[in-house]
């Protein structure tokens, strides 16, 4: 536990800029029509890192990412997968050149993520809390 905290602090220090740029908490969202109501960080991380293709209820899941360099993206990966942007990059380099998959589809911004996720119960994304509306629901609050 102790070492996890230290790691978290070090990672947070290394990436403090995106966190400051982000005014509010992040939420992981699925479509309002998706039957899953809550998820824990490990389940979300598995889907975003291509380790799992399903929601907790067994239905198919695909992740939607924000663009490289977006503060939402950096904060999300840091807090949910404990990976800095460089490590996420290294992770996908391994996955791509192992023939094990491609990173999630990227869209422009939080509004685009919300729109796409709202329309498709098979998708999962992340946006800042302020960007939430009734078309989607938060399955995890990222702090």
């Amino acid at each position: 536990m102790m070492s996890k905290t230290i790691v978290g602090v070090l990672l947070a220090l290394a990436c403090s800029q995106p966190l400051q740029a982000l005014g509010s908490d992040m939420v992981v969202i699925v479509s309002a029509r998706n039957p899953n109501d809550t998820m824990h960080a490990g389940q979300v991380a598995d889907i975003f890192l291509g380790q799992s293709g399903r929601f907790p209820d067994g239905s198919l899941a695909s992740a939607i990412d924000q663009p490289i360099g977006a503060p939402q993206r950096d904060a999300f990966y840091l807090k949910v997968t404990a990976k800095s942007p460089a490590l996420v990059k290294a992770y996908w380099t391994k996955m791509i050149f192992t023939g094990r998959g491609q990173p999630p589809r990227e869209v422009r911004d939080s509004v685009a993520v919300r729109k796409l996720v709202a329309d498709n119960p098979g998708l999962i994304g992340y946006i800042e809390h302020d960007a939430l509306d009734a078309s989607v629901k938060a399955v995890l609050v990222v702090r």
Binding site: L10, Q51, A82, F97, G99
Partner: protein, 421 residues
Amino acid sequence: MMFMKKWPSLLLAVRGACLLMIVLASRSAAAQAEPMPVWTFGGFGTAGLVQSSERQADYSANVINPGEAGYTDRWSASVDSRVGAQLGVAITPRWSAVLQVISERNLQNSYRPVVEWANINYQATPELNLRLGRIALPIYLAGDYRKAGYALPWVRPPVEVYGSLPVANSDGIDASYRWQAGAANNLTQVFYGHTSVQTDDSGKRARARQLMGLSNTTTYGAFTIRASALTAELTVDLARPLFDAFRQFGPQGTLIAERYDADHKRVGIANIGVSYDNGVWFVQAEGSRMNARSFLGDKSSMYASGGYRLGDWTPYATYGRVVANVPIHSDGLDASRLPAQAGASAAYLNAQLNGLLGRIAVQHSVSSGVRWDFLPDYALKLQYDRLRPTGGSSGTLINVQPGFRSGRPVHVVSFALDFVF
């Protein structure tokens, strides 16, 4: 024309893969939520420069991609330099294909690009994946991406362990299945196929048939554990004339030939690797055994490595070791019981045989280096290796000259610029 003559199977593989991609792409249903097919293109490369203090042999990362640092050249670019490109297409949510082509120095002294992978992928369920074609061998922790230097902390995977399996792919099928055990993610993979490498200009080859294996990768938080095993029937043409000559010497010669010739010999590799990487620091260790039941030896190898990330800088250190589980010397033919002329031939053959056995790597090494991620998609590495082949072995060195003496330390300095695109 020369190209066509020498590489018919390669050309067919490329043509086949391209054709299949086009056919499947044109047949893909238009009624997808996301526009299909989705094409991806990427690549990786390394520009490397290596100096070795040993002037009586060449330092190399891999025997089938021979480096030339030490004896041939004072500074060699051929140890680590390569470029690879990868084209992928997702035709439907279930069907995809990937083609990877790599150019690196080969045993014919050229950088002719070869098809590293060309496979069709069927995602039967989100958990079950089937592949057909030329596929990466999932042996060793970094086995599937060992040529993508950017994905490695070091300039090259530790030679003591990774040198035991120079090939990185096979032609055949594989199936992989994802499963969860609590918070641990598992990927279990089985594979079957064959592979072949041309070892000289006259068409001699090394062939692995009935190549089959099993690999399981567990990820649990910052931990990754992979256990893998492979077996194949191996035939290496290169030393055939030597063993044919031994067979001329009656039963004692035949006995030697049967023991050491790599002629339809069952080779086995078992490996376990553990890595812990929390983002700030990492440690990684692997242990491996390779038994070729031939002049290629029976070897146990291991390495342990660790590194610490300080912003864009990652210093690291590694200890590696390989030992032989069989004698690397043979008494050979008993020349005293032969007529003088035959005795001289026997002595010559014995010397040749012991020359081969001395290539079975017995070596330990310490390395330290630093990786600098100076730009996104680029990493610069500087590494120092101090290796010592012992017990009469030339270790992982190649192109060994008569003046080579086992037991002396070899100092190797490497620069590498790794990139991905």
